[in-house]
Amino acid sequence: MTSPHTYQAQAIVIKQTKIGEADKVVTLYTLEFGKLKAVAKGACRPGSKLGGNVEPPNYCLVMLAKGRNLDIITQSQTMDGFLKVKGDLWCISCSSYILELVDAFTTEGSPNQPLFELLLDALKNLSLSNGDETVLRYFELHLLQHLGYRPQLRRCVVCNSPLKPGVNFFSPGQGGALCSGCNHGEFTSHPISIDALKVLRLWQDCDYHTVSRVKMSSKLSSELRLLMQEYITYLLQREVKSMAWLEKLKTGFGVGSDCGVN
């Protein structure tokens, strides 16, 4: 039996690249097929029926037709356009970071339903929480979990003994926490506070609703951000570009501050 010529998918638009006169190659993360690239013909034209529907980070229902190289998006209906996210500089930048992470960590043709649901929830929570950074940290930790990189945070990854309160270390290379006795000056490992360990363990085991109620000091929040950033950079072997932009937005405006505008 031959496979059908057209098929449907629930998708979140990750990114798009212009090709030719008015077409776009759209990268989608779908519930059914994982990451896939498809062509949206004529999407750059103002009158296009596809244009507005295949904008990142839209959640949409797409109809695709098998193509010779790339499949072609024939119809698209937006289920959630995340208008609140698109209307706020911080939120739109956070969504850009989330989408870049998904694009960087996934390969085409490997469906992952929990990851799709996590991505959709992260975008929804970003919209509801007005860009709370916890959404990003929770997303990072669970993204890694769904991809097989869940960090070991209860026992030492080397000697397997339970971690004691006090000085412990986090080693991106070993994929988890090290007790003080097992940290032999590995160049990627960094000290981790007991509070950071506790928060990460809670994030690993609880849903976002519970996690969002935890209040953190800015010091702890910054420690967790740096820790996750280092772990992600180690796994990807490169920096996530949107992260630098988020840092810039947090600390002030590069361009504006040069010109006396803050």
Partner: protein, 199 residues
């Protein structure tokens, strides 16, 4: 081994580098030029050279021009108190074609795209801020593209321009002429409703 004489192979290779031109199209163009007179080939070569020699960026608006300042920036009849900010030089042309805008332009040469590493420092944003320092500009129109990068750029510009006390506007969003309501996406329709106006 190449089946073509060296000059033909070279030109085919050069034409193939152009956007939308594959090896077959490049061959057709080369054979067309071979059939043409020497004068026409010379005129084409000179036009290409002239393009590279004479075209530069206007020192005020950063649009591409053959004279500095460009024709628009030199025009005393135009309204110098309005600046329309666009992403690329090709965005100026459709706005000019409308015949509805008589102000100045500022070309950013790109849009903020964090995931591609394109940040404000790579755009002509500092130059825009310098243009606004003397207080002669009363309105800045943000005409970035209605997509994720364009939105990010517009929101960023709004944040840094707002403290300057300049009137900041942006192009209206809504349904395209000739389009159908049934096929409009949620974002466009929501924005069309928000920006509705008196009949």
């Amino acid at each position: 081994m190449s089946f073509f004489a060296e000059p033909i192979a070279n030109l085919i290779q050069e034409f193939s580098k152009l956007p939308g031109i594959g090896p077959k199209s490049a061959q057709r163009l080369v054979y067309y030029l071979l059939r043409n007179s020497n004068e026409e080939a010379k005129a084409l070569a000179e036009a290409i050279l002239e393009l590279k020699e004479k075209i530069r960026l206007c020192s005020i608006c950063f649009n591409i021009t053959d004279c500095d300042p460009c024709v628009i920036c030199q025009d005393k009849e135009r309204d110098h108190s309005k600046i329309c900010v666009v992403e690329k030089p090709s965005d100026v042309l459709p706005l000019e074609r409308t015949g509805k805008y008589q102000g100045m332009y500022h070309v950013l040469h790109g849009a903020i795209n964090p995931s591609q590493g394109i940040v404000p420092e790579q755009l002509r944003i500092n130059e825009l801020l310098s243009r606004l320092q003397d207080g002669s500009v009363s309105e800045v129109i943000l005409a970035t593209n209605p997509n994720m990068e364009g939105e990010t750029t517009a929101l960023y510009l709004y944040r840094i321009l707002e403290p300057l006390g300049i009137h900041i506007t942006r192009l209206a969003r809504g349904l395209p002429f000739g389009g159908e309501l049934e096929y409009a996406d949620d974002v466009t329709l929501a924005q069309a409703l928000e920006s509705r106006r008196e009949f």
